[in-house]
Amino acid sequence: MAKPPKKSPKKPAAKSATKKAKKSIKRVPGRPPKNAAIARPDTDAMLGLYEEMLLIRRFEEKAGQLYGMGMIGGFCHLYIGQEAIVVGMQSIAKEGDSVITSYRDHGHMLACGMSADGVMAELTGRRDGYSKGKGGSMHMFSRDKNFYGGHGIVAAQVPIGLGLAFAHQYKEDGGVALTYFGDGAINQGQVYESFNMAALWNLPLVFIIENNQYGMGTSVSRAAAGRALADRGKAYGIPGMQVDGMNVLTVREAGAEAMAYCRAGKGPYILEMQTYRYRGHSMSDPAKYRTREEVDAMRKQRDPIDTLRELLASEGVENDKIKTIDAEVKAVVSKAADFAQASPEPDPAELWTDILIEGRAS
């Protein structure tokens, strides 16, 4: 059984660890760091965060429906429950930072500013999708938004993210590579190859572990030795922090600290976002590995959108304002769904394009 993220994980038996190493691991489950590197957002900004999280939630619900109707094929991994992570992180990223993630990527694309229409049309495999219908749910990119995918092989995006960070350092452009991956990926060897080189060369890279408690059907406790995934960079001297990934404000504060560290040229940073996915691993997941009660408890007690809505209400934001946002988001998603179904399938000639770039040697 996975532990709900609310509980702070047991302290690892790290008594033997050196003082210095201990110091590099900050543990703030459920609480913002003491000296937050970023101010608490004002009400308008918080409404913005709310709107973005809700957009991802409604978008994913719609994607689930379209999948059920046979409009979306193949694998489809929904982000429902994890919205606070990417919305919180991207809300403090700077122009020019690059983003890369796994196949659970729809939320990341929306948070990077990619259009709901284009993402949904890619899900339906149509010509107006971000990859002209040739990539699908797991393979979408946007050079304009510095979104580098969308990668279908567990953990393969991590060394690629390392390369993005290398390029920021090489070009001296001040950017940070935000590299997202899950608790399933954390046990792949290439993650540690990346930790090593990122630390060795002080690359500006935030490793964001979205620990949603299950790698497909295997709980973290059945897959990962040791306790905190945030500790996994310890041997490389990479600071790590466990963060309540169900709270967008906490995510922002932790993210700001990590990004400031990277921008100061100190090297990489690991954030372990404690989160939960409400839906299955993919659409075909029978979810026999956890109880209905576990999922319901999480939704009721920890939902990132409900939490922020309640906070806004407690700060005097009128219900009408919230309702307006709800309606707007619903309209955006419903328009995207219509667009994605109306867009034609790719021209058959597209089968043979984009394999190699022709005649553009530099």
Partner: protein, 451 residues
Amino acid sequence: MSITITMPALSPTMTEGKLAKWFVKIGDAVSPGDVIAEIETDKATMEVEALDDGIITALNVAEGAEGIAVGTVIAALDGEDDDAPESPPEAKAPPPPATKEAPPQPAPQPTPSVAVEYDGEVAPLTIREALRDAMAEEMRRDDRVFLMGEEVAEYQGAYKVSQGLLDEFGAKRVIDTPITEMGFTGLGVGAAFAELRPIIEFMTFNFAMQAIDQIINSAAKTLYMSGGQMGCPIVFRGPNGAAARVGAQHSQCYASWYAHCPGLKVVAPWSAADAKGLLKSAIRDPNPVIFLENEVLYGQSFDVPTDPDWLVPIGKANILRTGSDVTITAFSIMVGKAMQAAEQLAEQGISAEVIDLRSLRPLDMETIIASVQKTNRFVSCEEGFPFAGIGAELSAQVLEAAFDWLDAPPVRVAGADVPMPYAANLEALALPQVETIITAVHEVTYQKGGE
């Protein structure tokens, strides 16, 4: 009793070296472990130690002498004849390789394989130097180009291909990595997505198997999966194929593995001119390019154009020798063997056309088909395994496009379908030799004695 000291082999492919320095003179007493000389090869400098107690009685090679073959007696000492060993002391020197064909000697004959269009200045260069010059010229031309890999910087390259690059371009652009193939391959792919121009060196392509997911799934497929947005301008280069006596895990040709996948370009030059011209084209290419070198060829010299703007286009084969009786295709090290075979066949009255494929993807089928339509016979040569190999693809395409022109079924010359053995005689049997090509040509020309 007299003990001889012979020129040692410092690497699996070393055939000769330079005696850079003697540390002893005639009359000196030496003990096992004493350094007696310094030997230089094109790859490394090493010290030679005495293996026995004794007095130096002869130094057969002058200090500074170059081109001393492995196994040559370089010195003699009068051993302290305590109890005479049963085996002759000479046995301590490594025996010369028992292969029928000693690994290709540093070619004495510079081979002109410069494209006909070029009429500028040429200079003799080894393949190793040609590759280095190609990288250096492109790095001067484009700040985005960098070289990354194991031992490429401070060590000057495991095979000395990157010699001098660190000095000229600095540690920012010539980067030693830890031994971490999957990691630095993925890093290169990410840097290429971010519009840098990485050259990723694999110490050998055998080690690229650790990273092949990044090469195929990330580098080759992303342009397509992104609807054309995300190009990956990267070169993966390093020695491919059998070296010499390094066994199964270090002796494999990956040409057909990479050529199999859409989204990659694959080149495998033979001459130094092509090595330089193709590597420059590969670095400028906006696509991922697999650049297959051959360790055994690194020291061979050829005439190479000196013009830094001279390129060899990817995807164009080169007819090295025209002929009328049979078309022989080959790439990389097999080209040299095919040329030797053609020479011997000419003496037998068989006129062979030899095509150096140079690029395996795109493959210049037009040139091959035109040749087969002229000669009506086809033999493909490669060092890799025959099953689903490059020859299998070539034969299929020749059959599809030139069936009516053929006077005999195509024949594939390839490595034996076994993991590479270590023993010298078995290794020689596993690798296709000049004789294998001649036999294949006899087969397609229905000559007696082909068996």
